[in-house]
Symmetry: C2
Subunit: 218 residues, 2 copies
């Protein structure tokens, strides 16, 4: 029986076609990609060593070897995250002249709204951030907020907020609103009773967002 098993086992493995060439760099990349894909598509709930290894098509042992476990892998995702802003959000003013701080914030808000809507990985991370306080998620959170703050700073240029407005607090509320809106919509196509399914719904949301920004910054 055991012999028959061994005799059968070898031909069973050959038809797998994909001969995974011994290439450490490629394997590392495959693991990282699988992790990001899995997190983006399935969320943080079922995110684990076994699932990532399965997604990458390799043994989980390699994740321990190359990344030192899940923590290291998450850290690697965080590092990648630094490029998010660069990839996803334009760094120039789109040909507009931003005359006032209000112009700037309106543009930033709308850009951020669209960017977050378009990036499932980022949404999952934001949801993770408000659901757990582990070391892992804190790293991700930090990388994210740092990248975002840098982007805003770059865009801000020499514009300064109007006097008498606590811009840091107001901006935090605006970005908080955007994040919750997008997260809620991604999960249930609505937010606080406001439908967010089709493009028209989103136009209304964007219009109200502008309205809010302008209400504060003029």
């Amino acid at each position: 029986m055991a012999v028959a098993n061994a005799a059968v086992k070898i031909p069973l493995e050959t038809p797998v076609a994909e001969k995974r060439v011994r290439n450490r760099a490629a394997t590392e990349q495959a693991i990282l990609d699988a992790a990001k894909r899995l997190l983006a598509e399935e969320g943080f709930q079922n995110f684990g060593i076994n699932a990532v290894a399965r997604g990458a098509g390799c043994d989980k042992q390699l994740i321990y070897r190359y990344y030192g476990g899940l923590n290291g892998l998450v850290e690697a995702i965080g590092t990648d995250l630094g490029d998010w802003v660069k990839d996803r959000i334009p760094d120039d003013t789109g040909g507009m002249f931003l005359l006032t701080y209000g112009d700037l914030m309106e543009r930033l808000a709308l850009l951020f709204l669209d960017a977050l809507r378009a990036d499932p990985l980022m949404r999952r991370i934001v949801a993770w951030e408000v659901s757990e306080n582990s070391e892992q998620v804190r790293r991700l959170s930090e990388a994210r907020s740092k990248a975002l703050a840098g982007w805003i700073e770059r865009m801000r240029g020499s514009l300064t907020p109007p006097k008498g407005v606590d811009a840091q607090a107001v901006n935090a509320m605006i970005f908080a609103a955007i994040q919750h809106l997008v997260l809620s919509a991604a999960v249930s196509d609505q937010c606080a009773g406001l439908p967010l399914k089709n493009a028209k719904d989103w136009e209304k949301a964007a219009a109200s967002l502008k309205r809010i920004v302008r209400g504060v910054y003029g």
Copy 2:
């Protein structure tokens, strides 16, 4: 041995005061309380049959029997949730005359902010809502939003939003902002770089919230 066991077991249980002797109603309540406590304190991540049974100090079989499993239990929590608004948020105007829609929304926003800050269970549920789309969480979500909408409607009275403002969308953004702000603060004592630790931080946040509301509604 069995006798000795029994002799020891009783004094061990007595300090719990509650003599848990064959009382279905009490057990059901204990399970429900344990479930709410667990969800509020530990979050939805480790929320499961075993954990609830452990917290309630009974066998998980009883959860299946009395609630039909976790789903039924969550549904029971949802039913309880309907009373949240009644318990937590005042239903009158606090002796103020709300002359304008702006007055109303400012007051609602601040009340909601404080209520959410004070209620860990509600926060966990909101975090759950944006993290998962299971049947369970949809039920909770629905119960919550219904209660909230009813409260707002009741408070609104005959006040109507100013013309030219999409109140539904604007209000959704305001409530979204509050929810994300509070959730983020509960987990990391800050939101988008804005520190939210002590009372003074929160005062600044509340001031900015007012500012935003007034910016839109005057």
